[in-house]
Point group: C2
């Protein structure tokens, strides 16, 4: 097969004409499909329905430490919830703070606390004369960038490789005392599916940032979200930071959002004792405690980390075919054309597609006009500005398999059209 | 009976000696009782156990608007939850934002947003050269004062009468553009049990604060928390503000914390459309949505406002005898001695005791040494500074009736001892 680059203008022109007919046939179907958000499907959510039975009117609602889960109190969470989430997040129960239903909310609040009150006695960021700067490995998670943009921080993109963020650049950038943090999704990263290598984790832990209040925001959102039997492991950053004598340099975040229910899970942070003390001393003014009945519900349903792992295999069985179907269709229709590359993740929620320069916006726009919503082009970059306009995040989990297949086929047509348009300019 | 003021020093001295023996007999019992926090008792919490059955593995979890309550999304809450909370909070469903399990958290976050990002385009409070000032009706709720102290605001006490805060003073104080808010607990106030009069509500709504971003923080925590059949009503502040052409001047807060479960209820804000838009535009960076399964659980259990009212009667039946027992004991042991006054609330969670000047700390300390924990003296004032050192908040709901009686008796002995000590100085 000839790649598009090898084709003459006439060949491209003929190809474009044929593609436009194909495209029109999709438009005529009046589709309404969505590959935009990393949401579990209804079938996946059904897996956790039995969780709704483990707490009922007859249940013992006293936690292992005697706390009545129904009443006020217990700022950092029930002991059994700490144990469960610690095992999942590769930490000790003592490291944990259990929160409500959203790890995004924890991250926002952590930045908000740092902004208003400062980290461990350092100047609150809102009182600094200069803008706070934040390192943003790209492509990355749009909602992370959304938080740091909202707070008015200057976001500095750092390129991702197959190993994690470009550590030469990170090491250089943290010499600036205004650099206060870095977003990391260390396993099956959003959207690239990258797994941080041991070397990257160790270099992160060994960082010597100029800012005492620099923190690694370690969003291990997909820690147990494997697509295959292979359980990819990432070196634990908190232990690595301890080993490098920087025990306070990291906040680890996790949740059961894509394990139990995205709307009604539990979320947690793991960090050093000193960080935890700093955080709780401030959090105590914000709330008396989070939902402890839901903490008990999760503990009694999953029982332990093995219960979570078993449960995640059922998720994998549902979503793996969707990932594989997208891959097969991209391979079948785009293979050899040299119009783009895409990732083959072993876990997580996304496939990252990188097309020719200056095609991403056009592809997403074509798909939208034909009734398929993709994540906005540029969303995987700070300020939604993809300098090459080439990256698109594909989220295959939510729609049923047949819809995913149809959406993926349409997507390939859009890729081809946009690519020819660029090549013929 | 002679009041203490009428007694000679010798009579007082004899009385003190007898009291100290009584006191010692309590010390010898090694009590461990708690009248400190406004927490529901275990018996009250049992009332909501059936709520844990209304959502189970077989439940329809699709909300009335088609939202899957299990998944991400729905930033401002499910329509049926808005309806339920709106009816409870005397508002329209459109006014509502449904949050997580804590209205304190909503208030903290609302102040935090105003501090970091400003209210409706006004300068963020953290960027102002001068200190934000906040009006604090006293005595008031310690956790309210805790938030505004934590943010470094200057808290200005405003005396409460039987009608609500001293409105002459409030009207004068809001001429200062640095005054950005006022804490209000309009019904069965914490701790005084005060119900705001129509006139006070109207004068609040008619305020012309110098600060455009001045807001009334209307914490209607006890809106349906009647002790008797009489359902005391308070004029709705949002409607009053609309009528006074100040529709954006108030945030109303409420929760089911003392209706269902303090640890696992739902909380809400009601406010104008313009405020709501301002808030949601910022909240969207903080979270994708709160726990919607718990919203459904509450709606399906209570069904409607009548369900809530019926439920609250059962609460009242449990806690009314405790309030009455405390009152009877205070009357029996302190009546006629002229050593203090106390409130006779028709709802809410507290009795407010006001002793002789310079006795509160001593009373609380005596009680503590005998094994009865009271709310810290001064807690009902900003910076925990009660200028007269005379107010003590009594929280009778948590312990069983017999323990409350014992604690109340001990309390009267402590009051008498502290009063005589002051009178004999």
């Amino acid at each position: 097969m000839k790649s598009y680059a090898q084709m003459s203008r006439e060949e491209l022109s003929n190809e474009l004409e044929a593609l436009q007919k194909d495209y029109q046939s999709y438009v005529d179907m009046h589709l309404s499909l969505n590959m935009a958000r990393g949401k579990p499907s209804s079938e996946q959510l059904d897996l956790s329905r039995p969780m709704l039975d483990v707490i009922n009117s007859g249940s013992d609602l006293i936690a292992s430490d005697g706390t009545d889960a129904r009443n006020y109190g217990c700022l950092d969470g029930l002991p059994e919830a700490k144990k469960l989430m610690a095992d999942m997040m590769d930490s000790k129960p003592d490291d944990m703070i259990i929160y409500g239903n959203s790890s995004l909310n924890i991250m926002f609040d952590q930045i908000s606390r740092s902004y208003s009150f400062g980290v461990m006695g350092e100047t609150p960021w809102c009182k600094l004369d200069q803008k706070v700067k934040w390192l943003c490995p790209v492509p990355g998670y749009d909602r992370h960038f959304g938080i740091t943009e909202f707070f008015g921080f200057e976001m500095i993109p750092v390129e991702m490789s197959e190993e994690g963020p470009d550590m030469d650049k990170v090491e250089e950038l943290v010499k600036d005392p205004m650099v206060k943090g870095i977003w990391c999704v260390p396993k099956y990263s959003n959207p690239g599916g990258v797994v941080y290598s041991d070397e990257v984790v160790k270099r992160l832990a060994a960082l010597n940032p100029a800012a005492k209040d620099f923190r690694i925001y370690w969003d291990n959102a997909y820690c147990v979200h494997h697509l295959y039997d292979e359980e990819v492991e990432v070196l634990d950053i908190l232990k690595a930071c301890e080993a490098a004598s920087h025990p306070d340099m990291v906040y680890k975040f996790g949740s059961t959002s894509k394990i139990s229910f995205p709307g009604a899970g539990i979320a947690a942070m793991a960090t050093s004792q000193a960080n935890k003390e700093d955080i709780l001393s401030k959090m105590t003014h914000q709330t008396i405690g989070h939902d402890k009945i839901n903490q008990l519900r999760h503990v009694r349903f999953f029982k332990d980390i093995d219960g979570i792992k078993e449960h995640m295999k059922k998720h994998a069985d549902i979503i793996r075919p969707k990932f594989e179907a997208v891959n097969a269709i991209l391979e079948e229709y785009l293979g050899g054309l040299e119009v783009g590359e895409w990732t083959h993740p072993k876990g997580g929620y996304f496939i990252s597609f990188t097309g020719l320069d200056h095609t991403a916006k056009r592809i997403v726009s074509l798909a939208k006009e034909a009734g398929v919503v993709m994540t906005g082009a540029g969303s995987t970059y700070p300020y939604k500005k993809d300098p090459k306009d080439s990256n698109i995040r594909i989220a295959p989990t939510l729609p049923p398999l047949e819809e995913i297949q149809m959406a993926a086929k349409l997507f390939t047509i859009c890729v081809k059209i946009a690519s020819i348009e660029v090549l013929m300019k």
